[in-house]
């Protein structure tokens, strides 16, 4: 029985022509020294080039981006691990701006309910530019807690909580005076965000989720979701009475490592599968499905909001680390998106997760030109968005609005990537043999 020609089914976009030539070896360059280095070295046929050598693949630091894009000419087949202006998504103030703009657009085009789907980030104001808007909002809800975050720092640095305007007017004075004294220091932007006071607690502890999303292109938007991830627990018990205790509220592993309670053996992380099972045994599978599909919505909408702003470059791909917080009503909130999620491993289990994540990322990037472009799953990655939603069913047309459309995401589900990869590459090989 021949399958009906499916005009609406699109491949997930592969390099064409000259780029599809098999290369004898792939020259890679990287500035990172951790798991990335191990994975790249262990990949068959990949050799490292150092310093000024020519490269086919570069896993770089965000700081090295500018020199690359401005000074280097890249051949068609070359790949680099960041988009030039990724900060539109990953810097907190830009992301908020883009999301607000996208929301307004959605409201105009599709009405309030559709726009309400973008309400996954807590009310945020840029400082100091939106200070007055912030004060208005602040006065409307007296007594709630706010969190001040620097836009461009990571690992929990520079973050603090406050409840009174006095706390930040003091801080404002401090930063202003320091600016006067040292002119070389760049003015740092902050965002003030409404603090989520009712997080979902497990064992009395607060946690957030780290999820990995791989974006292969923005125009059209093609994004993959990795099945594994983890929940990061705060070491101390959650209570609103101690907002000065940074360790309670911030769940970054970097901050937790400094906490006096921290015992390295603990690791304070749960794999997402374990977390999903825990929730299912507590709330039942349907509720969990709803939660995870709300999270899918967060990933898609956030990417869509910067789709037109990010400079589309076929050489670029990016692996984002999304930080999600769940509240007691099982609503997921987006905390931030990281362009360089930490790839250093904190434990053996963590090392394995990150190694597999990187290996699968390289499979999807496909420097070896093995994929056909029609795959919906590669190892632990599921194709989540392909210029439109992707259906889980095999061979079904990717049209939402069909009665039994189920999205092709499996976050926190079984990740039998080894088997899948074996089967995938075997069938690719036989296809190649058949066609040659």
């Amino acid at each position: 029985m021949s399958r009906p020609k499916n005009q609406s089914y699109k491949g997930h976009g592969l390099s064409k022509g000259k780029e599809r030539e098999q290369r004898a070896s792939i020259r890679f360059k990287t500035t990172l020294m951790n798991t990335v280095m191990d994975v790249l070295h262990n990949r068959p046929g990949w050799v490292e080039v150092k310093d000024e050598g020519e490269w086919d693949f570069y896993w770089c630091d965000v700081s090295c981006l500018r020199e690359n894009f401005d000074h280097t000419y890249m051949d068609d087949h070359v790949r680099i691990s960041h988009f030039r202006n990724h900060y539109e998504l990953t810097r907190k103030n830009y992301m908020v701006k883009n999301l607000k703009r996208f929301r307004r657009q959605l409201e105009r085009e599709a009405g309030k309910p559709e726009a309400a789907k973008c309400d996954f980030f807590p009310k945020t104001f840029e400082m100091p530019s939106e200070y007055h808007l912030f004060v208005e909002e602040f006065r409307k809800h007296p007594g709630i807690t706010w969190i001040m975050k620097p836009v461009a720092r990571s690992q929990g640095k520079g973050i603090f909580l406050f409840r009174r305007l006095k706390d930040i007017t003091d801080w404002r004075q401090d930063t202003r005076s320091s600016d006067d004294q040292k002119d070389e220091l760049p003015v740092e932007n902050y965002v003030a965000q409404r603090y989520i006071e009712n997080p979902y607690l497990i064992g009395g502890r607060k946690f957030d989720l780290r999820v990995y999303v791989l974006v292969m292109s923005y125009l059209p938007l093609r994004a993959w979701l990795y099945r594994d991830g983890f929940a990061r627990f705060s070491n101390t018990r959650f209570t609103l009475s101690s907002i000065d205790d940074q360790y309670v509220h911030l769940t970054n592993v970097a901050v937790q490592k400094m906490s006096p309670d921290y015992h390295p053996k603990k690791g304070c992380k749960w794999m997402l599968q374990h977390f999903r099972q825990y929730l299912a045994s507590k709330h039942g599978p349907q509720v969990v499905e709803a939660l995870f599909s709300d999270m899918d919505n967060i990933f898609i909408k956030s990417l869509q909001s910067v789709q037109k702003v990010i400079i589309s470059d076929k050489h670029c791909f990016e692996l984002y680390g999304y930080d999600i917080l769940i509240d007691q009503d099982l609503k997921p909130w987006l905390l931030e998106v990281n362009a360089s999620p930490s790839l250093t491993a904190s434990s053996q289990e963590d090392y394995e997760l990150k190694t597999c994540l990187l290996e699968d990322t390289l499979h999807v990037v496909d420097m070896e030109a093995r994929l056909t472009g029609k795959e919906k799953r590669v190892g632990g990655f599921d194709l989540m968005w392909n210029d439109g939603p992707v259906s889980r069913e095999e061979g079904a047309p990717d049209l939402p609005g069909m009665g039994n459309f189920v999205t092709n995401t499996h976050l926190g589900c079984v990740n039998d990537r080894k088997n899948q990869l074996q089967q995938l590459f075997r069938s690719l090989q036989s296809q190649k043999k058949a066609s040659s």
């Binding site: 064992g203 009395g204 627990f233 603990k266 690791g267 992380k269 507590k282 599978p285």
Partner: protein, 557 residues
């Protein structure tokens, strides 16, 4: 519970077995009379038990209240009330209570048997348990004297307030526990079991087919694989299982969906016996908490919450030495576990209350162990001043908190978690650290494990023995903890489903043997105990049900 009813073979025509043989017929009649009197003894015992329970009071109240109902008539009072109970679901509750009693309490072997026989029929086992207990108590007392800490003391009011405030986060406390040692660890207990001897059994020096090549040297009856297959028939190859037939490759229409539907029906019917039968094929994640509560016959009444609060008050008012042991155990084991560390606070809330719960003393009627006695200061030897220490009679050992940790996955209100743990302990876990001849006791489990290995994997067994790596030395700790902390949580819960379903711990020994069988190839290559330990160090990737199924039903015997 042993069933005295004779099994009727399938398909035997009635006529072929009806041969009037007077002597045999008379013997059979005698048997039936004995059964009758056994049964009436059992019924009397259960009625006695239930008369003191909450259920009895409730039934009485309900019966009185039902007199108001129009359908209850004076002429047929008894039948009408019975009918009312049936319709309103109270009969079901009574059934569940009776079923629960049958599961927990062993049948008295003889009406004249003394109570020690209910605890443990074999004298040498009782003696061994007695001397082990003396050792533990001595160790506890000497720790007490060394550290000059009283076994129990009343907390000053200030400290009481502090503890009450911190009740939900006791894990943040970091008391100095460096001087405390666990009273004993599983390996100490193993040494005691290895030295158990039946004085009536002379093995002789010459090797024969009766020689026990393992560590356990007592001749208890254990099942072999054909008997296990009969016993665990629902784990067979052609019967659906959760843990196997719900994997990603199998479409849910095959088994899973129907199984979930049946599970919901069982819960709606609130039938304990049906739930126990159902759970032999595994419990769906969403239904497990309720199913376990139904099987263990735990219904969370307001009185239960009050009882728990009372225990909490006891903890706050008095500080026991045992508390420090509990703290230490949690810090050493559960807090260091990659997944259970999150539940640290719950563990304190459960275990501290557990040690104050005198209702647990009831289980010593059928436990070969006896609660340790202590005397009020200065009144040594005077029976009027004797108290059980700790109040629940259970001294925790290294790893004890791991019995509670997996339950935190299912129950989130402390009192529900507490009730479930207590019931699991008095039904199952106590057998894992007391010396007895019960088929689910740790001695039998060890012997079952060794026998299975010796019989069905003789080469592996012999090899390991030769290199000084007796298999029991490695698997003992798994069985004592019922595999908690060694398996992944979802696998552990599937295993514990079967413990509840079959009302037996034998599945632990079978799983231990199956694990060795699974890693046999690697084990054949090791040359030392340490290397063997390394091969079996990480069980977190194992899938329990396929291992059990293959070992029982797919191994060539």
């Amino acid at each position: 519970m042993k069933c005295h009813r004779p099994r009727v073979g399938p398909g035997r025509p009635f006529s072929s077995c009806w041969r009037p043989v007077p002597a045999a017929w008379r013997a059979r009649a005698g048997e039936m009379l004995q059964e009758e009197s056994d049964l009436s003894l059992l019924i009397a015992q259960i009625v006695q038990k239930l008369k003191g329970s909450n259920l009895y009071a409730q039934l009485e109240r309900q019966a009185w209240a039902s007199l108001q109902r129009p359908e209850i008539r004076l002429e047929s009072l008894k039948e009408d009330i019975k009918e009312f109970f049936k319709i309103s679901g109270w009969e079901k509750k009574l059934q569940n209570a009776v079923y629960s009693e049958l599961n927990v309490y062993p049948l008295p072997s003889h009406p004249a048997a003394p109570p020690e026989h209910l605890k443990e029929p074999l004298v040498y086992m009782r003696k061994a348990q007695g001397s082990w207990e003396k050792r533990i108590l001595k160790s506890l007392n000497s720790m007490c004297t060394e550290l000059s800490i009283p076994l129990a003391r009343k907390r000053p009011v200030g400290q009481q307030k502090e503890l009450l405030n911190k009740w939900n986060e006791m894990g943040t406390d970091e008391p100095d526990l460096s001087l405390f040692r666990p009273v004993y660890a599983p390996k100490d207990f193993l040494e005691v079991l290895i030295n158990l001897r039946n004085p009536n059994y002379e093995n002789g020096d010459s090797l024969s087919f009766r020689t026990h090549l393992g560590l356990i040297q007592v001749p208890l009856k254990v099942k072999d694989i054909p008997e296990l297959k009969e016993c665990f028939v629902e784990l067979g190859l052609n019967i659906g299982q959760l843990g196997i037939d719900d994997s990603t490759q199998v479409p849910p229409e095959f088994f899973e969906n129907e199984h979930v539907r049946i599970g919901q029906k069982v819960l709606a019917e609130q039938d304990s016996a049906a739930a126990q039968q159902y759970i032999r094929q595994g419990s769906p994640t969403a239904l497990r908490a309720e199913l376990w509560a139904l099987i263990l016959n735990i219904s969370s009444q307001p009185e239960d919450l009050l009882y728990y609060e009372q225990l909490k008050t006891n903890v706050i008012q008095h500080d026991l030495l045992v508390d420090s042991l509990i703290y230490k155990d949690v810090k050493l084991t559960a807090s260091n576990d990659d997944y259970y560390f999150v539940f640290e606070d719950y563990l304190y809330q459960v275990l501290l209350c557990f040690s104050r719960d005198t209702s647990v003393l009831g289980h010593f009627a059928y436990n070969s162990a006896s609660p340790p006695k202590s005397y009020i200061r200065g009144k040594l030897g005077l029976e009027e001043y004797a108290v059980f220490y700790p109040p629940n009679g259970v001294i925790p050992f290294h790893g004890f908190s791991m019995y509670v940790a997996p339950l935190c996955f299912l129950y989130h209100e402390p009192y529900k978690l507490y009730q479930t743990f207590r019931e699991m302990y008095v039904r199952f876990f106590f057998r894992l650290h007391s010396i007895s001849s019960h088929p689910s006791g740790i001695v039998s489990l060890c012997l079952l494990f060794e026998t299975l290995l010796q019989t069905y994997l003789p080469q592996l067994f012999y090899h390991l023995r030769e290199i000084g790596a007796q298999p029991l030395r490695i698997s003992f700790k798994w069985m004592v903890r019922a595999f908690s902390g060694y398996l992944a949580t979802d696998q552990l819960l599937l295993l514990w489903d079967r413990i509840l379903g079959y009302n037996s711990l034998e599945v632990l020994a079978v799983l231990a043997a199956a694990v060795f069988a699974f890693r046999a190839v690697n084990l054949m290559e090791v040359t030392s105990l340490a290397a063997a330990e390394a091969v079996l160090a990480d069980l977190s990737t194992l899938k329990v049900m396929p291992l059990l199924q293959i070992f029982l039903f797919a191994t060539v015997t």
